[in-house]
C-alpha cells in the first residue's frame, strides 16, 4: 500500500511526539521516584540522628538522676542495711522520686538483691559488671522479658562499691510515640536475646500497624517494608545494643506511599501538559502537512489537466505563496506553454509534408471525411497526380533541383486548386487534390484545366524542366462512401492510367475488385510455393517416327482453395512482377526433377520439358542450379529439356542466347516455344543454340480448315528441317490435323487429341497403357478418345 504524502509527514511527527512524551513522562516518573527515595533516605538519616540525639539526651538525664540517687546517703544507708524489705521500699520510693520505670540492686557478683520489677528478676552478667567496674558505670539497654529499658548501671559506693544500682526507663509505646512526634517518622523497636539463659527475652513495639514483608534494598542499609494495609515504607535500622547476650534495633520508617501521593498532582499536571503538547503538535503537524500537500494536490490537478490536453487554459493561482511553491508554479506554467508549442509543431508535422509544406495524406483524408460529413449532396472529386519521369529529373539534375522542383510544383498546385479545395503530397512524386465541383459535367473541364496549368515547364536555376503529369480521378459519391475508399480508387485509376499509358483515367467500378484479387493472389502465391499447393501436370508428346511417347511437357497448375483453378498466365505474370519468379522456377525444377527420378525408377523413359520465362533467362544462377539439381537426383542432362518462348528470347536476344549457350553446354536440349508469335528473324533463329521449334497452337487448332495455316505450318516444318531443327506441333486436337502433320514430316505432336495435361500418377498409368496397346499409325485407341472426352 502506498502511503499518502500527508501520512509520510504525519507518521514520523506523531512517532516523534509519542516517543518524546513517553520519554518526558518516563523521566519525570523516574526522577520523582528517585527524588522520593532520596528524600526518604535523607529523612530517615535525619530521623536516625534525631533518634540518637534523643537517646543520648535521655541517657544523660538518666545518668544524672542515677548518680544523684546512688550518692544519696539515705539510699546508701538503706542498701547497707541489707534488709530486703527496707531496700525494696527504698527502691520504690526513689523510683517514684526520679520518675523512672525500673530500679534494681545487685550484689557485687551480679546476683539480684532487689528489684522493682518483681515479676521478672534479672541478673547482671559478668560482662556488664566488668564494664561497670571499669568505667565507673555504664549506660546501656537491657532486655527484661518482653520489655526493653534504657538503663544506667552504677556502683553504690559506701565509699567502696557495695552493690550495683540499675536505674532504667522503659522503651515503650509512649517513648516511641514521643519520638514519632519529634521526628515525624514511624518508629519500631525489636530485640531478642541470643542465648537461652536466665535472662531470655524478646521484645517488639512499633508505631506502625503490622508489617507483612520486609525486603532489604540491594546494596543499601535501607529496607523496603510493606504493611498489611499495602502501604510502602522505607526503613532504616538503627542498632541500639548488640552484645554477646542480646541484640536490639530501632527502625525508623518513612512512608513512600504518602510521599508518592504528594507527587500525584505534579504527575497529573505533567500528564495533562504532555497530552496538550501531543494534541497541539498533531494539529501543528496536520497544518504543516496540509500546507505542503495542498500545493501538491493543486499541481496534481494541473498535471491531470495537461495530460488531458488542456495546455492553454490558465490554471487557477495556487493558494500558497511560499518561494519554492511559486517557483514550481512558474516552472509548471513554462512547461505547459512549452508542451503546447511543441504539440502544435508536432501536429503540424503530423499533418504536413516537411518538404513542400503541403498537407499530407492524413490531413487530406480528414479533409475528405469532413466534406463527406458536411453532406448536403455536395459532390467533389479526388484527383491523384503523378509526375511522370520525376526520378529522371532527380537522376539528371540532382536532389536539390528535384526538391526545388517539387516545392515549385507544390506551390503551383496549391495556387491552382484555390481556396475551395486542398492539395496534399503523398510520396515523392505523388500528389493529390480535392476539387469541389458544382456538378459532374464540370469535372472534365476542371481536370483538363488542372492538367494544362500544372504542365507548364518549371525553371529551376535557369534550367527549364518540362512537366508531364498523369491523373487518376475518383468521384464522390459515385466511387466511394468514405475518404479511404475515394483515395484508394483515385490511386487505382492512376495505376490504370499508368498501365494503359494514358494521361487521365476515371475510376471504373470493378477495377478495385480486380486490383484486390491480384493483391490476394500475390500474397497467396508465396504461401502456395512454401506449402506445395502448386502441382505439376504433364502432357505427352508423340514421336511420329517411332510412334512412341518420348517427351512430356511439365505444366504448372494452381488450384486455389477459395478461387479454384488459377490460369498460369494470371499468376506467372504476378510472380514476375512481385519478384517471386526465381522461387517459383526453383520449385518447378525441383519438383520435376523428383518426378523424373521416380519415372526412371519406374522405367518410364520420357524426357521432361520445362518452360522458362524471360525472367528465368535473365537470372544468372539458373544453369548452376540445374547442374546441382541433376546430380542430386542422379539424372543426366538428357533427362531434361528446356522450352523458352520466342517472345521471351526476343525481349533481350543477346543475353538470351548467352544463357541458352550455357544450357546447351550442359547438354540440355532446348526448344523455342510458341514459335511464330515472337517476331524473330531468321538470322536470329539461325544463331540460337536450339534443337527444336514448337509451332504455336494458334496455327494448329484450325489447321484442317485454314489454308493459310496449312501453308505456314508446312513451310515452317520445311524451314526448320532445312536448318537442322526438329519440329513439334502443339494444339493437335483432331485426327485430321495429326494426318496432315504426319504427311508434312512433323517430328512430334502434342495436344488434347493425344492427351490433355494430367497429374503425374495419371500420366504413369496412361503411359503404360499406351505402350502396351502398341499404339500405331492411323489407329487411335478408343480409350484415348474417352479420356479426352472425359477430361474436356
Amino acid at each position: 500500500m502506498k502511503l499518502s504524502l500527508r501520512s509520510h509527514i504525519l507518521l514520523p511527527f506523531i512517532a516523534l511526539i509519542v516517543v518524546t512524551s513517553i520519554a518526558i513522562i518516563g523521566s519525570v516518573l523516574f526522577a520523582t521516584r528517585n527524588n522520593i527515595n532520596n528524600q526518604a533516605e535523607e529523612t530517615l538519616h535525619t530521623g536516625k540522628r534525631i533518634f540518637e540525639r534523643l537517646m543520648s539526651v535521655r541517657g544523660d538525664q538518666l545518668i544524672t538522676s542515677s548518680e544523684i540517687l546512688v550518692s544519696d546517703f539515705g539510699f546508701k544507708t538503706a542498701i547497707a542495711s541489707e534488709d530486703k524489705n527496707t531496700i525494696l521500699s527504698a527502691l520504690e520510693n526513689y523510683q517514684q522520686r526520679i520518675n523512672v520505670d525500673l530500679m534494681m540492686i545487685h550484689h557485687l557478683d551480679g546476683t539480684l538483691l532487689s528489684t522493682t520489677n518483681k515479676k521478672h528478676p534479672y541478673q547482671l552478667t559478668k560482662e556488664i559488671i566488668d564494664k561497670t567496674r571499669e568505667n565507673g558505670g555504664v549506660l546501656t539497654t537491657l532486655l527484661i522479658k518482653d520489655s526493653a529499658y534504657q538503663v544506667a548501671i552504677l556502683p553504690v559506693m559506701a565509699p567502696t562499691t557495695i552493690a550495683w544500682a540499675t536505674v532504667g526507663v522503659a522503651i515503650d509505646d509512649k517513648f516511641a510515640n514521643e519520638l514519632k512526634t519529634l521526628t515525624n517518622l514511624d518508629i519500631s523497636f525489636s530485640g531478642n536475646t541470643k542465648n537461652r539463659d536466665v535472662n531470655m527475652a524478646s521484645f517488639h513495639i512499633s508505631t506502625l500497624p503490622a508489617t507483612s514483608t520486609k525486603q532489604r534494598q540491594s546494596n543499601e542499609e535501607m529496607m523496603l517494608v510493606t504493611t498489611s494495609q499495602e502501604e510502602e515504607f522505607l526503613s532504616l535500622p538503627i542498632p541500639i545494643t548488640e552484645n554477646n547476650d542480646f541484640l536490639i534495633h530501632a527502625y525508623v520508617f518513612s512512608s513512600l506511599t504518602s510521599a508518592y501521593a504528594q507527587f500525584n498532582p505534579l504527575k497529573l499536571q505533567i500528564f495533562v501538559i504532555t497530552i496538550l503538547a501531543f494534541i497541539f503538535s498533531i494539529i501543528g503537524a496536520l497544518l504543516i502537512s496540509k500546507n505542503i500537500t495542498q500545493p501538491i494536490a493543486f499541481f496534481v490537478k494541473a498535471a491531470r489537466r495537461i495530460s488531458d490536453g488542456h495546455y492553454n487554459e490558465k490554471n487557477a493561482q495556487c493558494v500558497q505563496n511560499t518561494r519554492e511553491i511559486s517557483e514550481l508554479e512558474e516552472s509548471f506554467r513554462k512547461m505547459q506553454t512549452g508542451i503546447a508549442e511543441r504539440e502544435t509543431k508536432i501536429l503540424h508535422q503530423a499533418y504536413h509534408d516537411t518538404l513542400t509544406g503541403l498537407p499530407n495524406r492524413t490531413q487530406i483524408k480528414d479533409h475528405i471525411s469532413k466534406l463527406i460529413k458536411k453532406g448536403h449532396g455536395s459532390e467533389f472529386s479526388v484527383i491523384s497526380i503523378n509526375i511522370i519521369g520525376f526520378s529522371q529529373i532527380n537522376d539528371t539534375f540532382g536532389f536539390d533541383v528535384g526538391d526545388n522542383f517539387l516545392k515549385t510544383f507544390a506551390e503551383r498546385l496549391n495556387e491552382t486548386t484555390g481556396n475551395n479545395s486542398l492539395a496534399a503530397r503523398l510520396s515523392a512524386d505523388d500528389f493529390i487534390t480535392v476539387i469541389t465541383s458544382a456538378c459532374l459535367d464540370t469535372i472534365s473541364k476542371d481536370t483538363k484545366h488542372l492538367k494544362e496549368t500544372l504542365e507548364k515547364s518549371i525553371n529551376i536555376s535557369g534550367i527549364d524542366i518540362a512537366v508531364s503529369i498523369r491523373l487518376g480521378v475518383s468521384l464522390y459519391p459515385e466511387h466511394g462512401a468514405d475518404a479511404e475508399q475515394l483515395l484508394r480508387r483515385s490511386g487505382i485509376a492512376l495505376n490504370v492510367a499508368e498501365s494503359r499509358n494514358i494521361c487521365l483515367d476515371f475510376y471504373e467500378p470493378g477495377e478495385e475488385k480486380e486490383h484486390l484479387k491480384r493483391i490476394r493472389l500475390i500474397s497467396d502465391l508465396g504461401d502456395a510455393i512454401k506449402n506445395n499447393d502448386l502441382v505439376m501436370y504433364y502432357q505427352p508428346k508423340v514421336d511420329l517416327h517411332t510412334q512412341t511417347i518420348t517427351q512430356v511437357e511439365a505444366l504448372i497448375r494452381w488450384i486455389h482453395k477459395d478461387l479454384g483453378f488459377i490460369p498460369p498466365d494470371d499468376f506467372i505474370g504476378l510472380a514476375e512482377s512481385s519478384g517471386m519468379m526465381p522461387d517459383l522456377t526453383r520449385w518447378v525444377l525441383t519438383s520435376v526433377a523428383a518426378q523424373a527420378k521416380l519415372w526412371r525408377q519406374q522405367k518410364i523413359d520420357v524426357v521432361v520439358a520445362i518452360n522458362l520465362s524471360a525472367h528465368d533467362i535473365a537470372h544468372d544462377g539458373l544453369p548452376s542450379f540445374i547442374t546441382q539439381l541433376l546430380s542430386n537426383h542422379q539424372l543426366t542432362a538428357r533427362d531434361l529439356m528446356l522450352e523458352i518462348t520466342e517472345s521471351a528470347v526476343m525481349e533481350n536476344p543477346h543475353q538470351a542466347i548467352q544463357v541458352l549457350e550455357q544450357f546447351k553446354s550442359l547438354g540440355i536440349d532446348l526448344s523455342i516455344d510458341d514459335f511464330g508469335t515472337g517476331y524473330s528473324s531468321l538470322s536470329q533463329l539461325k544463331s540460337m543454340p536450339v534443337d527444336e521449334l514448337k509451332i504455336d497452337k494458334s496455327f494448329i487448332l484450325n489447321l484442317e480448315n485454314n489454308k493459310d495455316d496449312q501453308v505456314i505450318v508446312q513451310s515452317t516444318i520445311q524451314l526448320g528441317h532445312n536448318i537442322g531443327l526438329r519440329i513439334v506441333a502443339e494444339g493437335v486436337e483432331t485426327q485430321a490435323a495429326w494426318h496432315l502433320l504426319e504427311q508434312w514430316g512433323c517430328d512430334k505432336l502434342q495436344g488434347y487429341f493425344i492427351s490433355r495435361p494430367v497429374p503425374a500418377d495419371d500420366f504413369s498409368a496412361w503411359y503404360r497403357h499406351y505402350q502396351a496397346s502398341e499404339f500405331c499409325k492411323n489407329q487411335i485407341p478408343n480409350n484415348l478418345e474417352l479420356t479426352r472426352k472425359n477430361n474436356i
Binding site: 544524672t64 558505670g137 567502696t160
Partner: protein, 222 residues
Amino acid sequence: MKIHYFSSPKSLSIFDGGILLVLFFLSSPAWAWTVTVLDQNGQPAQNAVVHISGKDITSSSTDVAIMDQVNRQYNPHVLAIHKNQKVSFPNSDNVRHHVYSFSKTKSFEMKLYAGTPNTPITFENEGVVVLGCNIHDSMLGYIVVYDDGKFGIVDDAGKIVFSEPKKAVTSLNIWHPNLADKTKTHYSGHLSGHDSITVTINITHPPKKNPSKKNKFGRFYK
C-alpha cells in the same frame, strides 16, 4: 632474692574469703627481719599491712589511735589497730565532715562535725572498716582491726621490720585496700632463712575519677 612457695600441711584461715598460702623460712637468729611488699610492677606497695602471728607473738595497745582528716583525705589512709582499741577522728580541715562506715566490722556515723569529737569510737570486732564521708565522696579510709599477733604498715619503700624470731611466726598475712588477688596474701608455716622477705602482691588501682561529671560514663555501652 626470691621466695619459694610450696604446699604445706598446716594452714590458717584469717579473713573471710582468705585463701591459704605457704611460705618457707630459713633458720636464722632471733633478730630483726624485714618484709618488703612490692606490687606486680615491682613498686613498693604503699599502705600494705603486714600481719604475723604465732604462739608467742602477742601485742596490744590501749592507746587511742588517730584517724585524722587532712585536706579532705583520711590520714593515714590505712590504720591498723588492735581489737577493742579506740580510734579518734579529729577533723583538721576547716570544713565539716560526715564520717561513716557501713562495714559489718563496725558500722557508725559521725554527722557533720568539726574539730575533735569528744568520744573516740571503739572497734570491738576484728576485720576491715571502710570509712567514707557523706559530703566528700573522694574521702576513703580503712581501719584494719586485728585480734592477735603483730602488724604494721609498710613504709614508703614497702618495708616493715619485725623483731620477733622468725621461727615463732606461724603465719604471715598481707592486706592491701586494692588487693586484686587475695590468694597470695596469706602465708602459713615457719619462716626461716634470710633476714629479709620480699612479697609481691597484685593490686588494682581504682579508676581515676574524671572531674567532668558529664563524661563520667561512656555514652553507650554497646
